[in-house]
Assembly symmetry: D2
Homo-oligomer: 402 residues x 4
Amino acid sequence: MDYYPAPGRNHLFVPGPTNVPEPVLRAMNRSNEDHRSPAFPKLSKSVIEDVKQLFGTTKATSFIIPTTGTGAWESALTNVLSPGDNIISFLFGQFSLLWIDQMNRLNFNVDVIESEWGAGADLATLSKKLSADYSHSVKAVCIVHNETSTGVTNNLAAVRRVLDESRHPALLLVDGVSSIGALDFHMDKWKVDVALTGSQKALSLPTGLGIVCASPKALEAAKTAKSIRVFFNWADYLKFYKLGSIWPYTPSIQMLYGLRASLDLILKEEGLHNVIARHHRLAEATRKAVQAWGLKICTQKPEWHSDTVTAVVVPPHINSGNVVKIAWKKYNLNLGVGLNKVAGKVFRIGHMGYLNELQLLGALAGVELSLQDVGYPVTLGSGVAAAQAHLQRATPLIASRI
Amino acid sequence: MDYYPAPGRNHLFVPGPTNVPEPVLRAMNRSNEDHRSPAFPKLSKSVIEDVKQLFGTTKATSFIIPTTGTGAWESALTNVLSPGDNIISFLFGQFSLLWIDQMNRLNFNVDVIESEWGAGADLATLSKKLSADYSHSVKAVCIVHNETSTGVTNNLAAVRRVLDESRHPALLLVDGVSSIGALDFHMDKWKVDVALTGSQKALSLPTGLGIVCASPKALEAAKTAKSIRVFFNWADYLKFYKLGSIWPYTPSIQMLYGLRASLDLILKEEGLHNVIARHHRLAEATRKAVQAWGLKICTQKPEWHSDTVTAVVVPPHINSGNVVKIAWKKYNLNLGVGLNKVAGKVFRIGHMGYLNELQLLGALAGVELSLQDVGYPVTLGSGVAAAQAHLQRATPLIASRI
Amino acid sequence: MDYYPAPGRNHLFVPGPTNVPEPVLRAMNRSNEDHRSPAFPKLSKSVIEDVKQLFGTTKATSFIIPTTGTGAWESALTNVLSPGDNIISFLFGQFSLLWIDQMNRLNFNVDVIESEWGAGADLATLSKKLSADYSHSVKAVCIVHNETSTGVTNNLAAVRRVLDESRHPALLLVDGVSSIGALDFHMDKWKVDVALTGSQKALSLPTGLGIVCASPKALEAAKTAKSIRVFFNWADYLKFYKLGSIWPYTPSIQMLYGLRASLDLILKEEGLHNVIARHHRLAEATRKAVQAWGLKICTQKPEWHSDTVTAVVVPPHINSGNVVKIAWKKYNLNLGVGLNKVAGKVFRIGHMGYLNELQLLGALAGVELSLQDVGYPVTLGSGVAAAQAHLQRATPLIASRI
Amino acid sequence: MDYYPAPGRNHLFVPGPTNVPEPVLRAMNRSNEDHRSPAFPKLSKSVIEDVKQLFGTTKATSFIIPTTGTGAWESALTNVLSPGDNIISFLFGQFSLLWIDQMNRLNFNVDVIESEWGAGADLATLSKKLSADYSHSVKAVCIVHNETSTGVTNNLAAVRRVLDESRHPALLLVDGVSSIGALDFHMDKWKVDVALTGSQKALSLPTGLGIVCASPKALEAAKTAKSIRVFFNWADYLKFYKLGSIWPYTPSIQMLYGLRASLDLILKEEGLHNVIARHHRLAEATRKAVQAWGLKICTQKPEWHSDTVTAVVVPPHINSGNVVKIAWKKYNLNLGVGLNKVAGKVFRIGHMGYLNELQLLGALAGVELSLQDVGYPVTLGSGVAAAQAHLQRATPLIASRI
């Protein structure tokens, strides 16, 4: 039963939820089982352990919470902070905005460092603020690694440098929702204290798991943090980890088998390094297509280029919402709309998760058609050709087929 | 890939998660789709509307939250109450205990009315307390409808009568996790203010949806409730309901299609009335089997008999955990263990969700074998026979096959 | 979309098609792929090789044909025989009858050795006929290993002995549709020349694969056999085996992945020896139940007891068809009807494929209820108890859970 | 478990098997059920009836046989012809060749009218032969509607005209394997006597169903046809149609539910007329791409253009097999190789079944990359652009989304 059926496959190029691989669908195609039987912890432990590889950590403790990215945010904040705590947070797009909104509503005292939408985090200002904070009143620095609304990836190594140079002990909290599992992420190296993602992004799963990793320092902070929390409380998980039954409340059997399958695809079949390289390759191809169309991307500087989402700026006389609409109505292609400040001005191409070159080229061809349909005179095939030229060079033979 | 494989079907008779019907598995067997496309709200609205039938309400507003029962509890409490609020809550088993623990941790001031495990809520004491509360300082009365750890169902009509007779304006909050969709539930008639359930119980879905219904009075209370909440905040849902895009954050596509299929099975194919009658029939059969084995159930009086779970008390020289263990190790049968105070003393047979007579009889046969295996000299076939005698009379012809 | 929906699982106890395991459903849940790509032969070769273990052969060549058991029969006959060839075939039930009907229609000259329905093959007569056939005009002896209509298993070692003692070179053709993969089968030891089965029986797959093994002697016979055949011609398979592309025409991708999963369950997870022991255990339990009901089985002597299907004879005043009808209409239980000569007189309980003890006990409980419903005064629980007594003793702990 | 895994979706552009739609996978995701219960005929009758729409017939009788296209051929021939019968058959590619090979092996006396590979049926010669056949010794004219190896579609209306003008009573037998359900087909109007297809082509199902329609004249011929047949005998089906139990032997439950879903997609959701128009649109786009690449298609004249498969001729210095190889090894794209006479000279793009515009454009982009990779200097994007130009004009808004 589909509500607006259309022949052929849906071309899902929003920046999440992403395409679910067939092996994951197969793994999830099962009835419930007793999560309290001796069998279930075995699966559970394996995924709790293996997700850490996506975060680049061996030191952190991971929590797989039956929630969404928004819930994972709340888990990150409330477990390490107390109401009234001073935190610094960066604002440069819709998702950093929403996280800040959450921080405010959770009663933290947020010092917002704002940049233009399309720019990355303003680290100079961060440096100034931290250096001036002699009393170390700032408890945490919060940053969205990859801002999904503008296609901006921040340099977390640089953020860590600023913290280190200021010799500031603030916790570093990172939203990696649209980055972890698709972009390079080094929690241990960057000394990130809490990092989080959601299942429906790079992991190519259905929505439903918020995955949070906490450094030893974060776990220490959790012991004294006074924010009220129950559902999101790490302490309950830690208690059940010790008991060996792992889950403080009923988890989703299906999602955990799906996670196992997704981790197998990423870590064993393709290899995380290759997954990240593939995301870069597809993103580069997309950016070359945009250039060939004579359009600009929202991201202001190459250093902030996002390898999971590209926000394309349309000319002033075009409403980007119409591009998204015609793509869906005529080509069964789902693109992301522009949000908030960039509503009507950008549309977004998600290139995250379990995707390959020809899927992307089909979507780029669809974008060209849609642009033309709404009156932007793109040369048909031009973006595809630019993307192809890059992909032909950059795409390796499929490892299993050499 | 199964961790402890065994031939044939798993006999899942824990009181949740329950058996997922094939039509639900089929409905969920799908890739992600764009939850922001025009298609998705159509499905969303249909399930948001139809779940209300399970709650017996036309007046309440429903929220389908990507969380578990524990999260649904938190949603119920934090949206209508403020820290320090006085609430009355009943304690008579593990789940009422855990909810009270949550209430305390959420900083409410809980006046606990305790009964023995196996008894239902002590309404006489409630009556006294409410009558004495001239200032109406009690903001809410909280009750677990069906206590899953002991197999006790409370009489919510009686609870409402006590409130009415005391002319007390306290909100009535009900945990219907192991009741709604399986037992009679009349939110409007009983003037319940917040009722909640989880997807992995009577709905026979995977875990992942906390379903909460709020009366107009509860929604009014939510406007001034001061408990800090973001992820669980109803206001965000109400805002997106108005916008027509329904979801404040990404929902699980698969779970919502699954919910649609489950509601179709319950409301259209079988009929809610028949679903409830089936649960009663299977529960009666189970109780008759227990009696035939010469054992007692944990539930102290028939008025509290639960139609979704039966907690069986084993003789003192038997450890109920061993019954559960051998059932799993030899017969691929999953029973519920005794929790907390009744650990080792009871095992539980869940008979909730998408189940039929012969599935139950197979499980009862398995319980007999397991009892025998652990040294309780049950007459093989005795419980099955008692259950059969009831089922033969009580089971109607399958409606579609007459 | 189900045509006559009923709550809970269907209890499928016909002697085929059988219950499909979840791991098999998962393996089959996939789109098509190119059967001419380099990937597909790898899967194909693995199953072509591994099915031989079910047949007890290392010497034979296996063919996995996209057809049913009826097609597999035709494949067996037409590849080794020429029109007009004399063959001896045994008649003792509906399926042996149908195979003989096919032999006649394929223009072979069939000498039928008939037994009563319920008896096995009359080997004394076979011995006489073969001994008298000095000219070796008989080209083949054909026998149904397990007659599904009466629950009769023939002793193939004894058949081989008769052939050997008569020093007769006739080919031995065996229908193992309801035996291979569930009962002991030793193609090499018994010098069977062609043996065959279908996917929807012991392999617990959907219908669609006819699996045929041919001994070197059979392959030799195939070179000169003059029966016209194209679709069923082994020569085409042998040609494509040599080419390495395996399939003379498009196979079912899904069925072959399903077969792989089924073979993994049987050969790796449970072990063929244990699978056969489980079938014996469940069959014994069933027979004990029938005895407890005061009924007889169709099988005339214990030596012919079938471990995959039990045909139960009802008292003269009962129509067995009504037992089957009420079981389906009231208990969602599918039993096999009596066929042809035994129509109305027997109903059949299939206990073949991926089944376990409690599934069977549930079904036996259902049979008791159905018998009672149609007016046969069985003591409820009596058959279940008899079966339980056997199973408690005979059922080992589940290997993976010890 | 995939044998040669690769990230992202497989791009399946062979001319069968084709991409299976998610709704079909969902419908097939089920255990077995009893095909002899009252439920199954209901489904069976609905599909037996509805497949006729694909064939353009209300007068014919349909047979859904658990076999492949090769089996459907055998069914068509053996049911209406007797050994030694004179038949005329056209040879113009690999599949017409294989059918003729089958005819010879089935002992018919085949008069072959040969054309070059790339040309259609030589109707002038047919006309001469029929006109000269005063005695009406020719019993049947056999033609492959769409030759999958060369991408040639024959004009069946013209064939009928030739038969009519010659006033010749020969039966008209048509292989519609790669046409029916995708191309216009008018069995009644064209007075086709037997037409057939397979499930893995336009119906987008797994392999496993051979679907055959027989005109009243064909059914009449079947009564006296002397070809030996059992498994493929229509008479057995007709007998069980009358009995109401439909199936002479066990059908595939899953395939029939899948067929129901596929027919719903074609007949109800999209509409057969629109399905055919979509195939034409995608085929035109493909041909325009080939032209833009400076290549020729195998089809010699536009009147024979196939709307389900395009065979592309590569320049002499290129081996078309290498194009196919690199497409699979680097881009996860499956194309069809050149068969027999055109091996190494052509590769084939299947554009049949459940496909849409952007899927095709992705594949065409992949063909361009592969051509370049093997040393044919195609301008990247050129074919895509030509296809896009056509598709932009020709593609309607998706009906459900207007």
